[in-house]
Symmetry: D2
Subunit: 294 residues, 4 copies
């Protein structure tokens, strides 16, 4: 396991709990069991060494894969379990294939709850590589039927493509609950306790979900979300979802609205809305913000 | 129970299964146990008769409530369990209050699955009326802690306000899954079996939910949704959600996008898009649909 | 002319400049030429007195129309030139019709520029009433062919319905320019002077318009819109546009997005986005605003 | 002039009318005055030959630029006047710079009307190159102050970046008018003649614009747009606008909605909406399209 952060560290623990031997490497020497990736490679049982990479997407992942290309051999397999772009997977796999090293990309969902609940897994790669890795996937995925927590989506890249779409959907779901939250909160004459409504939606309703359960936890912890800013970050996968939609001419009004709401949330002042305000002044003849619409 | 359709009929069965005696009235004499609402009123044990109304919103509900106002007496309680607008509840309650008849509005979620799973319930009314009715609500709501399947939201109208928001959220959730579905389907080179991906999202992932489970059922039944039209109806509650957002100046980009997608789905030809096509012809000088953008 | 504010006052001047005699009444005695509406009615030449009402929509307009119903007589005509809802027009007209008083609703566009340029006019009412009023409309509308600055849209209410749609379009147009402005501004390495680009769009381009000209004025006055807040008000007509779209099942993704952007612009902190931030914390396990997406 | 299609051909004519000598090359020998690009280069007066490229973006433009790199010399200038991506300009310019050939990118707006009205021009490149080319730009741009029809936006790529944003705005403007059109048309009881309303908006109103004038032409030609399909194409520039917005974290709710409306317009059946319909069946228990919302 390369990368022992919140995700990689928890996954290593879950694997070990399932009886799978794991050697962990981390860029931070204090967390790492081996000094270098070369040491890691040397420590793994041969043949068919398996290295799971769980580091931030982009340059960090690229650097690790590069180094692994040097220290691994034909027949070994690299699993890219981070949030790489699916086209980066295809490039990376081609490079490692020149040296006979297999490549499997896995989208991993579940966040900090995965260690206990298991992780939802979406894999891309060859049938042979996936079959080799099934004991690992079975250890990581949740209890229950395999096909309800793991899928071999397709060729290399397909795992991260599915994870990208998963995250796009997640953006839409979260925004839908959040809009509903705000609308309930807007009428405190009718709904004095918004948290009680969300709590009651957990059983029997059409909108019940794991995210709803988390919403209830969040509201219970901090009613009115008083202690939290409305600043919302976004990861690459939401952006890629829209880009892929554009590439495939697929309309995504809801997911794009959710992404743009996050962009807006981070603006201390919106240039676009200043422009609208300025325009209204021009035709309405007003100098103040309470300008009347012509 | 007034109205023995898909919802009312199932609810009557669930109530009886819980040992609550129910007399059913339906406009269709063949389904009805009594001939008239007056007969129904006469058949109920006094005092504090309870009549649950479960008929289509609007005129049908208004007609039933009108008649109940005549045949019930002081101390009786009417439950409006359909999808009335929350302001209609307030009007209806005021009218019945003149005769001393109590009024409770209940939003009921769960669809055809409610008979077996129990119904998610959101109620509006006085504390006293709600307390009187708790045995009925306990019989209808799902197993588990009461507060996870039932909520007394606030005064009359509050139950249907919460149900309206619930349905608005539901629109957004469904559209988010649907957009993800289309994006997966657009790349069948990477994702040959979209159903397998949805199936694998059921455990461990952030997007797992009851609607996702239903999506899996739907895809399994009809892969590619070949046997179904893309025509999607909308009920009043989605529209009211947007109207209330406008009244409260709450931005609902996701829920409104979901509603508008349904409007669009029902148009054989979009007047707006014909106008855009015509405009492009004008400045691009093209007579065909493959007009080039200037 | 009832109401001598920015709109009514300018319109009275334009009418007088065209040789039409105008008596002005305003709630503020210092601006008013007569003390009461009764005095106004008495001052007008009979028969077929014409009163143009130009006061804020809602209660102020209703109060004026009420009083005019008392002081006018059969054969007189009231013109409601403010921003009334088209259904309010229908109600108002019916009430005045009981006393034989005619009613014409006129949507007036052009803002503070109208005194000089003329006003775009959209009228609703009977053919006979409109014909009677044509000299007034001809004085107010811009130079050029009558049909390019005035339209008798249809029966009572139709003028304000057209004006409502006009304003909805206006919301969309302004937001489109504003989004483009922000995108230009985001790349000051490529576009050091956004104002120069807008200036150059005034001739020859597809996007040239009067609003673009105003945008150039605004940017020239205050480059970067430094002196203006991003707080943007909205008038009733934008909201009604969405409500009517919902009533007619017409999808309005652009106009609704423009309205919601205004709602958002006025929120010091978005409850919805606080909810999204809280949700992300729950599954990602982060306590800070820079939470990483699971 | 390389490329004598609708745009290039008209521009060559406008240049000649202004007394500028033009030699035209087109891939179609019947339209071309010279047989090859080498012949074109040989025919131009030296030094500082100027070649304006006006061919479709992507591969065709790349092929022409490649060939020009071979047949031109140090000190010559290539103008890319098509709809290239601004980053492609940067790559292309770097390649030509190796041979000492200058590169200027120009976004050209105005469509088929440009020959008569002049073209709105947005240029990117070095000050020196732009200055050399000013006589050409002055011939092509509309009458009036230079800065109202031409802008030197910034370095290479800036011209096409500004044109990209221009087209994004154009998408939003067109959709806003189109939504308004549909909303007027939805109430033919109030608005029997939608064309008359658009016609009357041409003078005095806030929404007057060149696109509005074209809308009037279009409605007059084909009232109700009966002879046109609602299928609307999109060019690369609308898509790039959204991609750049994502790269710069700029929210574009209106422009993205306009793009997605075009995507939707081209779908004979929406997979997403079939999914929503299928979902509603699942929880509502309905087999038909008129399924009732739970």
């Amino acid at each position: 396991m390369v990368g022992l952060g919140r995700m990689g560290g928890n996954m290593a623990e879950r694997l070990r709990a399932a009886g799978i031997e794991v050697t962990g490497y981390d860029a931070n020497p204090q967390n790492s069991e081996v000094a270098t990736l070369a040491d890691l490679a040397a420590a793994l049982p041969q043949p068919r060494r398996v290295v799971w990479v769980m580091v931030p997407a982009g340059a960090p992942t690229a650097a690790v894969l590069d180094e692994l290309g040097r220290v691994l051999d034909e027949g070994d397999i690299v699993i890219e379990g981070g949030n790489s772009h699916f086209e980066a997977d295809q490039t990376n796999a081609a490079k490692l294939a020149e040296r006979g090293i297999g490549y499997v990309d896995v989208g991993v969902s579940g966040g900090v709850w995965g260690r206990e609940n298991g992780y939802g897994l979406m894999a891309g790669g060859s049938d042979a590589d996936i079959e080799t890795l099934m004991p690992v996937f079975d250890a990581l995925r949740p209890e229950g039927p395999r096909e309800e927590g793991f899928v071999h989506v397709g060729p290399v890249g397909a795992g991260h493509y599915a994870k990208m779409v998963h995250n796009g959907i997640e953006y839409g779901l979260m925004q839908a609950y959040a809009e509903g939250y705000e609308l309930l909160e807007a009428r405190d004459d009718l709904v004095p306790d918004v948290g009680a409504v969300f709590t009651a939606w957990q059983r029997g309703t059409v909108v019940r979900s794991w995210l709803l359960d988390l919403m209830v936890r969040a509201i219970t912890t901090d009613p009115g979300f008083e202690e939290i800013s409305d600043w919302v970050d976004d990861s690459g996968e939401g952006r890629w979802t829209i880009e892929e939609a554009i590439n495939s001419a697929v309309p995504l009004p809801v997911i794009s609205a959710a992404l743009f709401a996050r962009f807006s949330s981070r603006q201390p002042s919106s240039p676009a809305m200043r422009a609208v305000a300025a325009l209204r002044q021009q035709f309405g003849g007003h100098a103040t913000k309470a300008a009347q619409q012509a």
